[in-house]
Symmetry: C2
Subunit: 453 residues, 2 copies
Amino acid sequence: MSPITPRTPPGTMELLPRRQVAFQRMLDTIRRGYERFGFMPVETPVFELSDVLLTKSGGETEKQVYFVQSTGAMQQGHKPEMALRFDLTVPLARYVAEHERDLAFPFRRYQIQRVYRGERAQRGRFREFYQCDIDVIGKDTLPLQYDAEIPAVIHHVFSELGFGGFTINVNNRKILLGLLDGLGIPEPERRVLVLREIDKLDKLDRDKVRANLTGEALAVPGEAADRILDLIAERSDNDGTLARLAGMGIDSPLFLQGVDELTQVIRGLRAFGVPDGAVRINLAIARGLDYYTGTVYETFLNDHPGIGSVCSGGRYENLASHYTKSTLPGVGISIGATRLFYQLMEAGLIQDGGAVADVLVTQLDPALSMDYFRIATDLRAAGLNTEIQFEGGKIAKQLKYADRAGIPLAVLMGTDEKARGSATVKHLLRGEQMEVPLGELGARIRELLGRAG
Amino acid sequence: MSPITPRTPPGTMELLPRRQVAFQRMLDTIRRGYERFGFMPVETPVFELSDVLLTKSGGETEKQVYFVQSTGAMQQGHKPEMALRFDLTVPLARYVAEHERDLAFPFRRYQIQRVYRGERAQRGRFREFYQCDIDVIGKDTLPLQYDAEIPAVIHHVFSELGFGGFTINVNNRKILLGLLDGLGIPEPERRVLVLREIDKLDKLDRDKVRANLTGEALAVPGEAADRILDLIAERSDNDGTLARLAGMGIDSPLFLQGVDELTQVIRGLRAFGVPDGAVRINLAIARGLDYYTGTVYETFLNDHPGIGSVCSGGRYENLASHYTKSTLPGVGISIGATRLFYQLMEAGLIQDGGAVADVLVTQLDPALSMDYFRIATDLRAAGLNTEIQFEGGKIAKQLKYADRAGIPLAVLMGTDEKARGSATVKHLLRGEQMEVPLGELGARIRELLGRAG
């Protein structure tokens, strides 16, 4: 029988074990950060019923959906009853609406799971990728303070991740929408299209965007377009930007509300101890989605702007209108962990993780194997992740295995050491070794690893 | 617009947040246990290419497979290119074969992910469920000592899980196969069928199984059937069973090898410190799958035999014959975490977890909200998971929220306390409260939670 060539499906990120350790550490750091702010875990099934998932009119999203069908249903020619989630927001909406009576509001949840999109296969595009989301959902209302707490979460998590400097860009959609209102563009749909155009400023230059704004389709008057683009180009510090906004003389209530909210958010996150330098008001961040209605966030790594936003989100007015008549406003963010990890790997910034094992018990003398079992059990009881080498063979080969696997320490015991009731601990990185009484082995190894008590 | 009824897809286990905390704790405990023995993490994509996944002849498994197809491919009438994994063993085989050159052998990996089966929807049957697997894979050979280490892992993990007493049942398939050989049933296929029949002894009584064995299809001579069934009914301690096996006078080499291996495994796991009472040689455990070729394991909770085996596995001769010409023997186990958790819930043994947050900073006086932000930031910096209540409203309502959410402590500060540079800490379970200087808040709360330093 000729073997089938083993292949990972395209568009997925599969890692070798030591790389997986590094990725796992990143997810653990994000989770710990979210928990530090009291968010509760939620997991939802990988698939949803198709009619529940695909409530919105077709369009771009639906084309990218993966449908799921059991063999039996397929043979009977049924339409697929289920589909893989394409984000964590729709499952959250379904979850909150379904369990509304059992949840305490404001409901704070984090969710770290994979989502699926039928993207065209191409380098750096993923069909399966992790999203790490937090959201706070209110019932009827949700105080603005949460909008200030979210950047504090971002700041905490990215400080812990240690990928270097980063800047949290903050804006409020009401400012631009209100400005358009004030400049004589009151139609909501037209305003959303204008915002989408403005969102392109990171890809197109100003002249091109101006031409699109003043073109036939959007018909923004030239003077208005200039005022918008001048405002967006604003590059003073946060207080300067807020002062300029306050002094613009725009009397749209929406605009004024947006400026007030943004001011409160900036003030709040100072109280949360987020340094001014880590946050920047950026009026160009429009997040051209109708979904967001107030504060919006995008986060960039200072040394890697090319990666784009590594953590985005914002405030929305109503999470689950498709599933419930309750009004459920919320604010949240998402970290696309797979894409971020991939980009950092490409930039050479990801080191392989070490082994899970702290120490390898070698097989110096096969006749002593039961002793090695006992030593391993003692080390495990002392809280040390311990692997035993059963393969035997030359000790140099065993030590090379440990080294290659990233295990920092090895324990060796021959008949001489056994007679003395001791074993040798070898520090593979430092090349040092020492003989240690068996009863002290766990404690000494913990010391060598720099672990307390 | 009339809302769509939000429904979780049938056959999945979706939990409320506090229940999810309990489930998460269980998965974390399993993971920590696996890491204690030096297993490395691996994750594979949820789907595999159909031709890679479905290498075996159709049959029962294939009927239960979920196929995955993007909208585009479906419209073009293509056959589904991908399918959801139905276990973690086939993806492991694919992974090891694909990455063979980059892995160090013996390769020890754990994998904790969900798998999918198109089961008929019915209470307690899951279409999506977690499996928590470990395997050790050798190249060409794999020493028998690993077979002894695996029950040590099971013992460690189930001790940590704290679901009460449990018994690890151990057997070796070579013993029964060799016995059949010695009793004049040499045909491998017939022997496998006999083993499958013997596996039914937990559901059928002895007479019925004897009738099936001696029936037309299997044609086991009556005397041989009695010897087999007598042996299986053996209920002495492990040493007694080993002595009886050694004294049976069966001269099949396979039988003798099986007895020798089982003896070594029992001896080895004593050296690993696994108490005799937690392990039982059970010759009735046949695991009627051709896949297993030597040691097999099944684990039962002593107080809940009805749940069936909660952790099963064994030794196999060749992991990935479909994908590579290398010989890759291995030994492994799997915990079906979703099913186990569900059964323990049904038995009333699962308590909801507490909140993720250790402490709630209340909103006693909205004018002090910036102070509350600062307090929360200090507590978080002290390593405490901290939630702030922004909703305000009556303090009794805020404390009730904390209580319902399972948050053990609350911080309250009014203008009087602020003037004194202090805040009140309320222990919601004990009903006690005390005033604490702001600078000592983190340390005092850590003490109240019983955390070191």
